[in-house]
């Protein structure tokens, strides 16, 4: 299908939505207003859950805070709804930032459990505060005015609601295609890799949480001035849970999933309210059961929601495979060849009773390729994890470029100029090759959330993309840069990790078994690549089991056994050393 075939249905839908107030019944418009208001909240859940891997059952509480804030300010203080919006958003952001700061360091299930408790608390708080009218709520808010136009009629506020929703969708879509947006998308599936790229997981999580809360805040403000009445019930936990399921049912992996899910659940609810009373005295009880069954079935059989099915009928986005010319990203000045780059002294790490790394020390000079070898369980990967800050060392000192990085933590070490790959490949399989490599450029680029959301980052983005394409080409997997990384065979995934590490323009690149799973020709290509890096002044430290591969490539070898350093020297000397032969083959005697 052509691009036109893609845009045509979208234009028809937009035109229908724009013209709806002129032909649709007023009940339909009311329904559409609710769908828009819900979709805004669900959009927040989509970036939070679908992209950021965090879950909140408490978004309804953020809606409530903003709604109550503007209700209180406009009724008791007589302020304009626009002031109410600012007040409501400020309050929402403050609460979200506080809650996030407390809970977001705890991964996994603690945050969602916390949001359940917090969603309940807010509901009880709204219902018991005199200033907020207790369970009766607050009524009589003024309608919103734009200039002298009143948005009191349902058909008028309709345009504001869908306008806000459209703007929010575009801004979020921009954001997700930007530097920080990629960081959000990289959150799902383990934090070690993300931090190793110089990305602060906590900061990204916190801002994502706040963005979701801001969207909920807009929704609350619109709700309060559309209904001109607020009470605790629409902001209770049940509603909070429903927002999550709107996102999941619609498709949490896609921005439009929010609108689809909100529409689906609102319309279904509406239909059930017509049908169910024929089956039971009190239809409401059946309604929750029907929804529970739908939710459980959806989670069992269609976790991606409706969007993946819908997308099958739409053409795929056509990517141009040409490399767009752009100025290269600035490169670091590599340290002079032969100067000391990395010094490891008396490194010590204990796991319970096991001394995994015992008094290991070695030095790597700029422009060298150094191999770290040793039998399985010798502690090689642990040494790498200590150098890159994944694990804290118990004793010893690590100096990189004259800077003590022993306690620096992964992020600062990445910023200092060390990039790495992992023994067990850590990629984002559901992101494209180029996006995975672009993650590597994070430390070299600066555009923040706001620049990304408003597309002010395009110049830098073009340079980063150019760099990513260059690295993909360099490692030889640039044929289909927009394919998903998960579709690559394992050996190629390792190479993709190397490209990602190179995109960070490191002074030292640490490779944990880069040749594992590669075919012989691929190994040759990799060895050539590493040699060309050496010519550029990049230093390479690698763990590798393929002795032939190592011997033909490296300048020096450090041999480890049982957590301690055994020998250090040139490949020829190490190969001849009887202690090395003994460690690998058992005693010769």
């Amino acid at each position: 299908m052509t691009r036109r075939a893609f845009y045509l249905p979208a234009l028809v839908v937009l035109a229908l939505l724009a013209a709806a107030p002129f032909f649709a019944a007023s009940f339909t418009i009311t329904l559409l207003n609710y769908i828009g208001i819900y979709a805004l909240v669900a959009l927040g859940v989509v970036i939070l859950t679908g992209f950021g891997g965090l879950t909140s059952f408490g978004q309804a509480a953020f809606v409530g805070i903003a709604a109550y804030a503007t209700a209180w300010l406009t009724t008791t203080q007589g302020a304009s709804p626009w002031l109410g919006l600012i007040f409501g958003l400020a309050l929402t952001v403050a609460v979200a930032a506080f809650l996030g700061a407390v809970t977001l360091r705890l991964g996994g299930h603690f945050l969602p459990l916390g949001t359940i408790a917090w969603g309940l608390s807010i509901f009880f708080l709204f219902g018991n505060l005199d200033a907020l009218g207790r369970h009766n709520g607050i009524s009589g808010m003024p309608p919103i005015f734009i200039g002298s136009i009143s948005l009191e009629p349902t058909t008028a506020i309709y345009y504001l609601i869908w306008g806000v929703l459209a703007a929010a969708t575009i801004v979020i879509a921009n954001l997700l295609e930007s530097r920080e947006g990629r960081a959000i998308r990289s959150l799902r599936g383990g934090v070690v890799m993300v931090e190793s790229l110089g990305i602060s997981v906590f900061r990204i999580r916190l801002i994502t949480f706040v963005i979701a809360a801001i969207l909920a805040g807009f929704s609350g403000w619109l709700y309060a001035h559309m209904n001109r009445f607020v009470s605790p019930t629409p902001f209770d936990l049940r509603m909070g849970i429903q927002y999550l399921f709107m996102a999941i049912l619609g498709g949490s992996g896609h921005i439009l999933g929010a609108v689809v899910g909100a529409a689906l659940i609102t319309l279904l609810q509406n239909a059930l309210q017509d049908v169910l009373p024929h089956f039971a005295r009190n239809g409401e009880q059946l309604e929750v059961i029907v929804f529970a069954v739908i939710y459980v079935l959806a989670l069992q059989f269609a976790r991606g929601g409706v969007m993946p099915f819908a997308l099958r009928f739409l053409p795929h986005r056509a990517w141009s495979s040409a490399i767009v010319p752009a100025a290269p990203l600035p490169r670091r000045t590599m340290p002079a060849s032969g100067t000391p780059l990395l010094t490891v002294e008396r490194l010590f790490k204990r796991f319970g009773g096991l001394e995994a790394v015992n008094q290991v020390g070695f030095a790597v000079n700029a422009g060298e390729i150094v191999g770290l070898i040793g039998p399985n369980g010798a502690g090689k990967s642990t040494v790498f994890n200590l150098i890159t800050g994944v694990l804290p060392s118990d004793d010893g000192r690590i100096v990189f470029l004259g800077q003590d990085i022993t306690r620096a933590g992964q992020r600062r070490i990445a910023e200092a100029g060390i990039a790495r790959t992992f023994q067990h490949v850590k990629l984002r399989p559901s992101m494209s090759l180029i996006d995975n490599v672009l993650l590597g450029t994070y430390v070299r680029t600066r555009s923040g959330f706001i620049r990304g959301a408003l597309r002010l980052d395009r110049a830098e983005e073009a340079r980063a993309r150019h760099e990513a394409r260059r690295q993909l080409k360099r490692v030889g997997i640039d044929a289909n840069p927009h394919d998903l990384a998960g579709n690559l065979p394992l050996g190629r995934q390792r190479i993709l990790e190397v490209a990602r590490a190179l995109a960070a323009d490191p002074a030292l690149i640490i490779l944990d078994e880069p040749a594992a799973g590669l075919s012989r020709p691929e190994k040759t290509v990799l060895a050539d690549l590493l040699r060309s890096l050496r010519r550029e002044g990049v230093t390479v430290l690698l763990v590798e089991h393929d002795v032939e591969f190592v011997m033909g490539l490296v300048d020096r070898i450090v041999v480890m056994d049982f957590g301690a350093k055994l020998v250090e020297g040139t490949p020829v000397a190490v190969r001849a050393d009887p202690r090395v032969q003994e460690a690998y083959l058992g005693s010769v005697a």
Partner: protein
């Protein structure tokens, strides 16, 4: 507040807290073995109290219909599953386990409805009626997702909370019940009054905690559960079936929940949806224990009980706000004391 009032509130809090201990232990048991954060667990507590209340009123407990509904659904799921696996011979076993077995107490309750059994028979029958709820829900909704992430399991379990509260309203109706007191004695220690109900609650919680400990330490199934919670794959390799440990965990937890319901029934009026809040408060206790430690959970749950008691004296309308707000300092403390763990495998969509 005088010291006397403080003491009364404290004792009251320990009594409520001991309910949270039982519920909290059940939650940790389920979570550590199956990784399911079982949000609807509190409903089992409420349903157990409501079941006993219906029996005392000479009515047929709505639990009979609830179990029948769940058993039919579980049998369907099991049959489809075994047919797909190409093992139709196992279907009979599934029908017995998920159909016939849970329906035995239901049938007894159905036959004896209105017969006004003595309390000594009603209580075990009520417990037996309620206990299958946990394993049946596990079979219907959770086992098909056994390999999903903790997050996904949590979302499912929240969806189940919806469903169970709907079923509760359908079968128990909207009115609240309070069961007859189990004991009526009052003890005086100086100026302090302790009711036998309080003593019963605390003693039962202590007994069941001890039994749970002995079960884990000294029986093979108990050790299998512990092994599974330490390392699921390892347990599987040595031949511990994940399905049967899950059933056992849910069964034991349901038992703890049912007993809690019997204990809490006479102290407060319970509605079909009261269990949710009880379960969540127990969760706060369990989170204090890191959702992993049984003694930590017990201490946390007692603390929540006492806190709630004092909070309701200060402002009964806002006591829930106080109890749930405790989570914030608790989580802050946890996030500063727990090491960061990697690979929390967050996968919601495909």
């Amino acid at each position: 507040m005088t010291p006397d009032i403080g003491l009364i509130l404290g004792i009251d809090g320990v009594a409520t807290g001991s309910i949270y201990v039982l519920v909290g232990l059940g939650l940790v048991l389920i979570f550590s073995v199956t990784r399911v954060v079982f949000v609807p667990f509190g409903d089992i507590v409420a349903f157990s109290a409501l079941t006993l209340a219906s029996m005392q009123l000479g009515r047929m407990p709505g639990t009979v219909y609830l179990i029948a509904t769940l058993a039919v659904a579980a049998c369907l799921v099991e049959t489809v599953h075994q047919r797909r696996r190409g093992q139709p011979k196992r279907i009979v076993r599934g029908l017995v386990g998920y159909g016939a077995l849970p329906l035995i107490p239901a049938a007894i309750a159905w036959l004896t409805a209105g017969m006004n059994l003595p309390t000594g028979a009603q209580i075990p029958l009520a417990i037996a009626l309620v206990v299958p709820i946990g394993p049946l829900i596990e079979r219907i909704a959770l086992r098909p997702l056994a390999d999903a992430s903790v997050l996904l399991l949590l979302i499912v379990s929240v969806a189940l909370t919806f469903g169970l509260s709907g079923l509760g309203l359908l079968f128990f109706g909207p009115e609240g019940f309070r069961t007859r007191p189990l004991t009526n004695e009052i003890f005086r220690f100086g100026s302090v009054i302790v009711t036998s109900q309080t003593i019963l609650m605390v003693a039962t919680a202590a007994t069941f905690s001890l039994l749970l400990f002995l079960f884990f330490e000294h029986t093979l199934p108990g050790k299998a559960l512990r092994a599974t919670s330490v390392n699921r794959i390892g347990a599987r390799i040595v031949g511990i079936r994940p399905g049967s440990t899950a059933t056992l965990a849910f069964l034991l937890a349901s038992l703890l929940g049912a007993v809690s319901g019997i204990l809490i029934g006479p102290t407060t009026t319970l509605y079909y949806d009261s269990g949710f809040i009880i379960g969540l408060k127990a969760f706060v206790g369990a989170i204090i224990g890191g959702l992993a430690s049984y003694p930590g959970t017990a201490l946390g749950a007692l603390f929540i009980g006492v806190l709630e008691s004092f909070a309701s004296f200060w402002n009964s309308a806002l006591k829930e706000v106080v109890v749930f707000s405790v989570l914030i300092p608790v989580m802050l403390w946890r996030s500063l004391s727990l090491p960061q763990t990697d690979e929390e495998d967050v996968e919601v969509e495909e």
